[in-house]
Symmetry: C2
Subunit: 542 residues, 2 copies
């Protein structure tokens, strides 16, 4: 039998080489034995095939991975030098079987089996939409999105890229938005060219450079291993020199399919079709509709799909959009603005760009850290998710552009927010009294976060909207200074009594004392007795 099993610890891939070792030609389908991979890990099948002609366009290679009645069709890809690969992310433990098909005799008809073991401790699977507005990992663990952006961090020398990974590993962020294609112009802004041929205009858009993609995969795998989702920005409008943003539709589609074939088996991949899609003058909105559908059809695992806007928001109601990725610096100044997007899209709202902390001359890049932290809190109590980046120039450039080190003061406060949310109901934070109370999010009857932003009152009357409340419920209260990062328990508990048709208040009319400073929040947690059933509000006009 002519097959060999390897494990790449650095890449986290279990690789099965078939008919390839020692330069032997591929033979009839071998039955692999002994291979095993963890659930939601990457199983990689490597096959030898033709190197002549244009394998990227001429060779078709697919495989069917089956477990009982469950079949996952997967597309392979050409990795150069006569090497073909098929990557698969199994979503269940136990024995799996595969069988390849191809328009090349030497690639088709290969079959074998392998074993999928339970996921390792920190492997919770890919992230999915949950409860309309939130995210969970596939194993049900809540995923509280807390993202940052470094557009071109994978275009740097190794030392820079490793610094970025080290910074990320020590940060609170669990997602990074990053461009696949280089930004900027000129060879120095590009680590490897994505296509073959003399760059830029002589590139053959039908021939990919596997080195470019292997490097990207290495970094995506390293992000996975530090618990960071890779929100891959498939296109961006930030250059005209290389021409990545103005390829013809056939080249766009071929590139998207190749990218998906290579990377979809990485559980931490998300697809962001474009950054500021509307600033790409070479594409119409219908092109983005099509590209979304190309990704959707090509990705066997249904990874999250979004698109990021400049000034014109994409129609996020389309079924191929899994969550709304929004740029709007003003919407999260106020939870009541932020939640309007929830109402209209009925999907998770991720404010991936709310302006950035820093000292850039442009008004999108000069937020004070307090201003960015405020946006996170307002977005949080609105039941939405907010994204970070910063524009301060570090040793290798700005974090927003190239990664490196974080210099801003918001990061520590976001880590503090993350810690608070880790201790909140797993269902996520939702607005409590939509369109009426802009300060309160939580889970009705159980958990409330009241965020007062720039207001600096010295007391907060203990009053809660009626949903899921009843006389006699008791609550513990903490005052949270979101900037100083302190949590101060308030003497309690507070016991509630119905006050009118809308609210319950502390039975003795007590208020929560506050320090008279901005950026305060109040955390209210029920300690007993069990919550009442929700009381639905029915409007009865006219």
């Amino acid at each position: 039998m002519n097959s060999h099993l390897f494990f790449h610890p650095l890449r986290g891939i279990v690789a099965l080489f078939v008919g390839l070792a020692l330069g032997l030609p591929a033979t009839a389908a071998p039955a692999a034995t002994g291979a095993s991979v963890e659930q939601w890990g990457v199983f990689e099948l490597t096959l030898a095939g033709p190197a002549s002609g244009n394998p990227f366009t001429e060779v078709e290679l697919t495989a069917r991975f089956t477990q009982g009645a469950h079949t996952v069709p997967v597309t392979g890809f050409y990795d150069g030098d006569g090497v073909y690969k098929i990557r698969f992310m199994p979503d269940a433990t136990g024995e799996w079987h595969y069988e390849t098909a191809s328009n090349q005799a030497e690639l088709g008809g290969k079959s074998g089996s392998f074993t999928v073991t339970p996921p390792a401790k920190d492997n919770h699977g890919p992230v999915r939409v949950a409860r309309t507005f939130h995210f969970d990992y596939a194993d049900g663990t809540p995923y509280r999105e807390l993202g940052t952006t470094c557009y071109a961090w994978t275009q740097r020398p190794d030392a820079d890229e490793e610094l970025t990974l080290k910074t990320l590993a020590a940060s609170p962020f669990n997602k990074i938005r990053m461009c696949v294609f280089p930004t900027g112009r000129g060879p120095r802004s590009m680590r490897y060219p994505p296509f073959e041929g003399p760059m830029p205009r002589g590139w053959d858009k039908t021939r990919f450079n596997p080195v470019f993609f292997r490097h990207l995969e290495q970094r995506v795998g390293q992000l996975r291993d530090i618990g960071v989702e890779a929100d891959l920005i498939v296109f961006h409008p930030y250059e005209t020199y290389w021409g990545f943003n103005s390829m013809d539709a056939a080249s766009d589609d071929r590139y998207v399919r190749y990218l998906v074939a290579r990377l979809a088996a990485y559980r931490n991949v998300w697809w962001s079709l474009s950054n500021e899609y509307d600033f790409n003058r070479a594409k119409k909105e219908s092109d983005w509709d099509r590209l979304f559908q190309v990704v959707q059809a090509a990705d066997p695992y249904g990874h999250l799909r979004s698109i990021h806007n400049g000034t014109m928001i994409y129609n996020q109601t389309h079924p191929w959009v899994t969550h709304a990725s929004i740029q709007n610096g003003a919407a999260v100044l106020d939870s009541e603005r932020a939640l309007l997007y929830r109402d209209v899209y009925r999907k998770p709202i991720v404010f991936d760009e709310v302006k950035y902390e820093g000292n850039n001359a442009a008004r999108w890049g000069q937020l004070k850290p307090e201003e960015l932290v405020l946006r996170f809190w307002e977005g949080t109590i609105a039941g939405t998710y907010v994204g970070h980046s910063e524009t301060y120039r570090g040793a290798i450039g700005a974090w927003l552009s190239v990664g490196g080190e974080l210099k801003g003061e918001s990061v520590a406060r976001l880590a503090f927010l993350k810690k608070i949310l880790a201790d909140s109901p797993p269902e996520g934070i939702d607005p409590i009294d939509k369109w009426q109370d802009r300060h309160t999010g939580g889970k009705a009857g159980e958990y409330y976060l009241v965020y007062l932003g720039e207001q600096a009152p010295t007391a907060w009357p203990f009053v809660l909207y009626k949903t899921a409340l009843a006389d006699g419920l008791k609550f513990n209260v903490d005052v949270i200074d979101t900037w100083a990062m302190t949590i101060t328990p308030v003497e309690g508990p507070f016991e509630i009594k119905k006050r009118d048709n809308y609210v319950f208040a502390d039975k003795d009319g007590r208020s929560v004392s506050l320090p008279g400073k901005p950026y305060q929040a109040i955390r209210i947690r029920r300690i007993g007795p069990p919550a009442a059933n929700p009381i639905p509000e029915t409007q009865t006009e006219p």
Copy 2:
């Protein structure tokens, strides 16, 4: 020839009776001569046909109205007592021809011609969407939507209904939202039953009561004659006694088609599929999708179509929605919230319910007049439209429910706003610096309204966002007290000079003095020289 021409001055309809006068049976198609109707008026053809069986369900009657290559297919309706009618709203002057078709020999094959004369002075045709976010009449006259709501005003004694019409005629409102079906319960809340048979549960939903619809048409025609659009609420969830909100799908569709056949020829008709559609527990969202499409297919003129929400907003991106009719009391507290809906829907945004002025116990009906007027101004500078009503109880009940008299203090301020807008650019008001400046709407380079809401500064620095500006442009300024209804010219003019990459300011750094009171606006109008070309802002991150 057996045809007779009548003009109903009260109803504004030119009616042609064919084969019907003197009880004669219908004969072969007569050629009508001498009939004429104004453009966008109602041409009505009356035919005699079978009264036996169930004419509502068994008789098919259509006509084709043609002028040259232009053909409009129209559906007729049964009006009781063997009388059938076909109504047509011509959209062009000159000679028109019609020919009927039917599954009844006596109704089909009638043909004739008539002349369409130019529209009368105050007839501008139906209202259409214009410039994405705004409305024009069909003749190009801007329509600045300023609506009110009286749900059940057509269910009252004549004296009450005439009082409502008189009040409306003296008001600033140019649209009224009104229910077709009665609200409430019991015979006293219903003027005429809409169906035949013992009410309510013995009703035959396949047999309409023409008296009910004739009465509705009379009132719609009277609204037209005082320049008020009738935003007909086709369904509402405000009763379970009569059962209008829980008919089966076939009855719903039949009712909608009958309503459209009778009323579509009235140029001032809009279709609001439902009030608070999501509070109707008997219908799914897909039912509303279907009903929208029934209306769209049945209406030869494409009248405006919308649906009004309770707490869950309908997917207003559907192509059958012409404009977003939104209930949200909080969105127009702040123009920056209001305009988020423009971004996501790219259609006119009409905040048909923003809570109401009055003294109702419910929090949706107890706005102070100042609060309602503020919502109109915030909505206006956001480039959206806002709706009025009030809950004070007058002699016959609350305006919101039954019409009658207006008692609120907001109405005069809305008339004042209307006067100001009548003197603003015909293109409409749009936000000037979206997501950055929540106080300014207008037409860049030409006209600005800066609304300061509850802020009460004593000065406003003369600074404008760069779009369409250039050094040397001069502007006249007025300070508008939106509550006191005064317009105070400021000594000027102000001449601008570029200040930085974003804004132009008065060349001498001057500010506009303000009285230090809330509810102030600043009107800024260019007086010369001609405006510069727009300077598009291109974001250039990362």
